[in-house]
């Protein structure tokens, strides 16, 4: 076996860090804005001509995917670490200690997992797919994405779509506001556009919950707060109507859905208050999302008919159940990633056979043409149609001879670059390297 044959012709390389491996303080300094990422790609193109590169930078990860073929193989991992450190003005030694390095098949598998949300902080979250698309698009725009990274990112998007459609890994919601609205409030009310929403307090989850309610059509929103000026300010920020905390009882009578997030240390709505207003509500269902800690609503109110009261703990338990449900889908998702990785790597390995096949085909074609010319000189009376027939028969014969080695190369490509076969072909048919 020659020295060239022992070396894979195509290389993929990855250097990067995520929320699991890089401390937040360093991750913040390592992160790239869109402009910085574009500048880094331009610098990569100049530093490593002929190589491909894609930079994925999100709040939870910074990863650089590099690829190359033949003489222009992907840069070694240490060079990529140094390049990233230079781009962000960081100490390469410090980065080298926290960034992970992967090569070839592991790079593909990792990218497919990332695009499918399997490597995210919240398992199965779909936003990462958009970020992967953007990273690839930026690389294309800056001329650093070529056939290898293009094929790999295209396959990653296909894999992510398969994981999303063939498993339930991204179906169940896992944030408290989204679970509160989609799994509970929407199970009570058909629509929110004819419902009156009451926000009590200004906790951080109020705005997030309201965002989901607005997406569901909620229009009539009232904000009450112990401090009237704060209620006015909040209402203006959230596009809601300010209400008076002194008239909380009346607001509760009118409300269909209450989101309570005060910082009060005692109950804001005790059972006695609710009992006083219960009759005036006329039996209308009431959904209460008590997202305050400690709770704002007396838990006994949840026992009243027509009241659906959920505390942070109730919703967190539902979120956890959904997370477990997502985890149960992992084996199915991983099986898809394995399958797609094998498919992509087979294609990549098969690419390495192209020059040999091309030489083989060209050699046979040249020999065939010489033989045909000699034959036609000996048989000058042949009609043009007969010459065409004979030429086509020669071409069919060559294609049929070439078919078995092509099938063998394809089959061998599934387990890695078919270097042995390529070497044998070169030696048997005296092809140049």
């Amino acid at each position: 076996m020659t020295a060239t044959a022992t070396k894979a012709a195509t290389t993929l390389s990855l250097v990067g860090g995520t929320h699991r491996t890089v401390p937040l303080e360093l991750r913040e300094r390592l992160a790239f804005s869109a402009e910085q990422a574009a500048a880094a790609l331009v610098a990569f193109r100049e530093r490593f001509p002929g190589r491909e590169g894609v930079l994925l930078s999100t709040c939870n990860r910074v990863e650089f995917y590099a690829a190359g073929e033949h003489e222009a193989a992907a840069p070694p991992a240490e060079e990529l670490v140094a390049f990233l450190a230079e781009c962000r003005g960081l100490d390469p030694g410090r980065l080298a200690g926290v960034l992970t390095r992967q090569a070839d098949e592991a790079v593909v598998k990792h990218l497919f997992s990332v695009a499918s949300g399997l490597d995210s902080m919240v398992l199965g979250e779909p936003q990462i797919l958009g970020q992967v698309k953007q990273a690839w698009s930026l690389a294309r725009d800056n001329g650093t994405s070529g056939p290898l990274t293009g094929g790999m990112f295209q396959a990653a998007l296909r894999t992510a779509k398969r994981v999303a459609s063939e498993t339930a890994i991204g179906r169940e919601r896992t944030s408290i506001p989204s679970v509160a609205v989609a799994d509970f409030a929407a199970a009570v009310f058909e629509q929110f556009d004819d419902k009156r929403i009451l926000l009590i307090g200004a906790g951080k989850m109020a705005a997030e919950t309201l965002r989901y309610l607005r997406a569901g059509g909620a229009r009539d929103v009232t904000v009450v707060n112990r401090t009237a000026s704060r209620a006015v300010e909040l209402a203006a920020r959230l596009g809601a109507r300010p209400g008076s905390f002194a008239e909380l009882a009346a607001e509760l009578v009118a409300a269909d859905l209450v989101v309570s997030t005060t910082g009060a240390s005692e109950l804001v709505v005790p059972l006695s208050l609710f009992e006083r207003i219960e009759r005036a509500r006329g039996g209308r269902p009431l959904v209460v999302l008590d997202l305050a800690v400690p709770r704002d609503f007396d838990p006994a109110i949840g026992e009243r008919p027509g009241v659906w009261l959920y505390s942070v703990d109730d919703l967190a338990a539902a979120c956890n159940a959904n997370r477990h449900s997502r985890k149960r889908e992992m084996p199915a998702a991983l099986a898809i990633i394995e399958e797609e990785t094998l498919r992509f790597m087979t294609d990549v390995h098969h690419r390495a056979t192209a020059p040999v096949i091309e030489q083989l085909r060209a050699g046979w074609s040249e020999t065939g043409d010489l033989e045909l010319e000699r034959l036609f000189r000996r048989l000058p009376d042949l009609a043009e149609t007969e010459r065409v027939e004979i030429r086509q028969a020669f071409e069919r014969y060559a294609a049929k001879l070439l078919h078995p080695p092509l099938v063998s190369l394809r089959s061998e490509s599934q387990s890695g670059p078919p270097l042995g076969l390529l070497d044998a072909l070169r030696r048997l048919f005296q092809l140049r390297e």
Partner: protein, 290 residues
């Protein structure tokens, strides 16, 4: 064509509905991308076979769909199956078939046990008989739909009370929509049942002197069903604006189906003069069940 149509049997559409029901039940076990198509395909095939079966009977037996207890039950099942198909197409993620298809299959089962003898011969009585049969059909279908909505309300409310996330593949409509359906169907059921009973009294008067006595089991059980539905609707209306009114309506809807099922079972086993042709009674032929 005639051979093809006459070859369609009850087994054809019962088997199709059963497969669709099996597909609905499999939602609880595994996910599938093609299940929806298979389910709708079998339900549609069943409905087509069901329609052709009823159509062929109308042509070959020179009868109309409501002319015998057998046809009446099959038409009620057809209406519910058509409703199921529509809901499966418009709300593919809601497992409504899990509740509705058993009722469809039960009605087909009742049809198999019921008499195939035509109800009446007299043209004057036939008009009232059709009105009577149509109202009874309307209230029975309403009761079935209301009970399905009521059951779904109770399951959804149970899940919300236990504060659990929705089961995978088992997403129910909102309580608001289900409550609306239970309230409306109970109202429709009560008033069409009253109309059916009143039209039955008129029918009885029209075909005198061979009228059905007030003590006939069918008259008694129908009277009880009508009374139950009117009371249930009254209770629902009275409690609608009170806390827990929707839960009461859901329970009453489910109970109404139980009452109707009990009434049908009673009707299948008790002898009666209801719906028996006068000529048959005069000839001393045995009485039939409706």
């Amino acid at each position: 064509m005639t051979t093809f149509l006459s070859g369609i049997s009850i087994v054809c559409f019962v088997a199709s509905y059963a497969v669709a029901l099996g597909c609905e039940a499999s939602r609880l076990v595994f996910r599938s991308g093609v299940r929806g198509m298979v389910m709708v395909g079998f339900a549609a095939a069943g409905l087509v076979a069901h329609t052709l079966f009823l159509g062929w009977r109308a042509v070959s037996e020179s009868t109309v769909p409501l002319s015998s207890p057998f046809d009446w039950y099959l038409l009620a099942a057809w209406l519910l199956a058509a409703g199921y198909l529509w809901l499966a197409l418009t709300n593919p993620r809601t497992p409504v078939g899990l509740f509705l298809l058993p009722v469809v299959l039960a009605l087909v089962g009742a049809a198999v046990l019921a008499s195939r003898e035509p109800f009446l011969q007299s043209p004057a009585a036939q008009v009232w008989a059709r009105i009577h049969g149509s109202f009874n059909l309307a209230f029975s279908v309403s009761v079935a739909l209301g009970a399905v909505a009521g059951m779904m309300w109770l399951i959804q409310a149970g899940r919300l009370t236990r504060k659990q996330p929705p089961l995978k593949g088992f997403r129910m409509p909102s309580l608001e929509r289900l409550a609306l359906v239970t309230h409306r169907t109970l109202g429709v059921a009560a008033w069409t049942a009253v109309a059916g009973f009143v039209s039955g009294i008129v029918l009885n008067a029209v075909k005198l002197p061979e009228s059905v006595p007030w003590t006939d089991p069918v008259v008694m059980r129908m009277g009880m069903v009508v009374a139950w539905l009117v009371v249930a609707d009254g209770v629902t209306l009275a409690t609608r604006r009170r806390p827990g009114g929707d839960r009461i309506a859901a329970w009453l809807s489910v109970a109404s189906l139980m009452v109707l099922a009990g009434s049908i079972t009673w009707g299948l086993i008790a002898p009666t003069r209801h719906g028996v042709p006068a000529a048959a009674i005069q000839a001393g032929m045995p009485e039939v069940s409706p």
